[in-house]
Symmetry: C2
Subunit: 261 residues, 2 copies
Amino acid sequence: MDQLSDDQDLDSSLRDERGGKSPETDDWPCQTCRVRDAGLCGSLLRGAGVKSAGQFGRLHQEFHKSLPRRNIYDAGRATEGVFVICSGWAFRFVQLPDGRRQTLSILLPGDVVSGVALFARRLSYSVQALTKVAYCRFNRGELLNSLTTRPEVLESLSNICLAENEQADDAITDLGRRSASERIGRFILRLMDRLAARGMVKDQSFEFPLRQQHIADAVGLTTVHVSRVIGAFRQSGLVEIGGGRLTIGDLAELRRIADAK
Amino acid sequence: MDQLSDDQDLDSSLRDERGGKSPETDDWPCQTCRVRDAGLCGSLLRGAGVKSAGQFGRLHQEFHKSLPRRNIYDAGRATEGVFVICSGWAFRFVQLPDGRRQTLSILLPGDVVSGVALFARRLSYSVQALTKVAYCRFNRGELLNSLTTRPEVLESLSNICLAENEQADDAITDLGRRSASERIGRFILRLMDRLAARGMVKDQSFEFPLRQQHIADAVGLTTVHVSRVIGAFRQSGLVEIGGGRLTIGDLAELRRIADAK
DNA sequence: CGTTGCGTTGAGTACCATCAACTGGGGTGG
DNA sequence: CCACCCCAGTTGATGGTACTCAACGCAACG
């Protein structure tokens, strides 16, 4: 039913963590992917025909899995391509020398870790799995080629970069000019919107694998303060968090809090 | 000598503010541009040959000027292309309904207002001139075409997007996890680096047309607090600001403050 | 049943915001 | 020339938001 619970096949193959798969084998993971038709994968696979490997054949993919709390990528390491989250949650973050930590974005199934990673040999942030995560790497060279030969790929990647920039601008505004409750409210609402676009929200309720530490790192607060704000939210009946789920109790009021002071 | 003072021609032509110029006239402004060979303009004009208009002829450009404190672009308006700052300073900012304001980035000569603006019909932020500004608009359609036909344009625009994303990530980290003095210190140092790359820094001193209000909007503080922090900087001999210039007094110490707590 | 991780709560504090008054420079007009 | 105003910046007083340190409850787990 939901993304995080029915991962039998993820479980069963977690032994071969980080094991690559040939893109042309019969058990091609994308065949059963829930988010295959959206975002970058959509453009890459649509033009190619899902089963054939013609002139616009499938790009080479390398499939990986990660357990929770493991780093999928460490800042500064060389990358050989672009990562896409197939299932599970992850996040991009920066760790300062003195331990302070800032999450740059939460990555949901179907998200490209970063569109511009296509042009960068190494990134300045790390990526960590939040839940069990299955992800896939597209080869940089191939992707760069298809950029010039396949207009829909260029368009898709452009849209991804556009969205990433807008999200970054939003984050800057939130962190620079909004109060704690505004930040947390907006954080929750944005997450819900993104999950809703994936059909992962039902009755204003969705899976929520984040610890308060993750929220704190994302909105630039401490866990203690996040606890207080969320406690206040809960007492006002705005949200309910528990059992790995988040349920919105009073959407209108949450929107009001998130929109202004 | 410096960018902002020798603007006789800017002055003299400020009458025809917002007046477009045909790209093929003899008084083509780029002929005298100081930053012509850098960034996007560099790639666009290099491949084309500066004087000729062959197969890879010049793209259509529309030149504009703006007085200080005028909005070059208002959030939400339809855009017909990509803006490049030719001379002067500007900034991208978001204005919240209740008046709070966050600056997203400072734009220096040679900067593209936003690389991804190429793919967006309207932007969610506004752009305001800080000094007298000359800027130029490249046509969206033409630029999109040259993206697929001219590899160096694609590469240049990729690098711009990459840099924009990295700057945004830096800003998020600063606003989320750094103290006031760290933010201001880093703000100054980053500005100096970017100006140095344009040859606009001499003896650790550079033109600095920003009011404390602008700094406050950029680093997410109030003007009052910016005044205190900068006052402390000045008293420690770290920086001296005055007469529209900023001079670094103790670069090592400023770096130390900016790098950690 | 101790341990560990996560969340909550309290007390005290630091940082930064807010409000307000005041300074000094630059322009303008009497 | 001076009065006046406006703008940018400074400074002080005060207060609130969010941080730090610490203790504790609770559930999961070995």
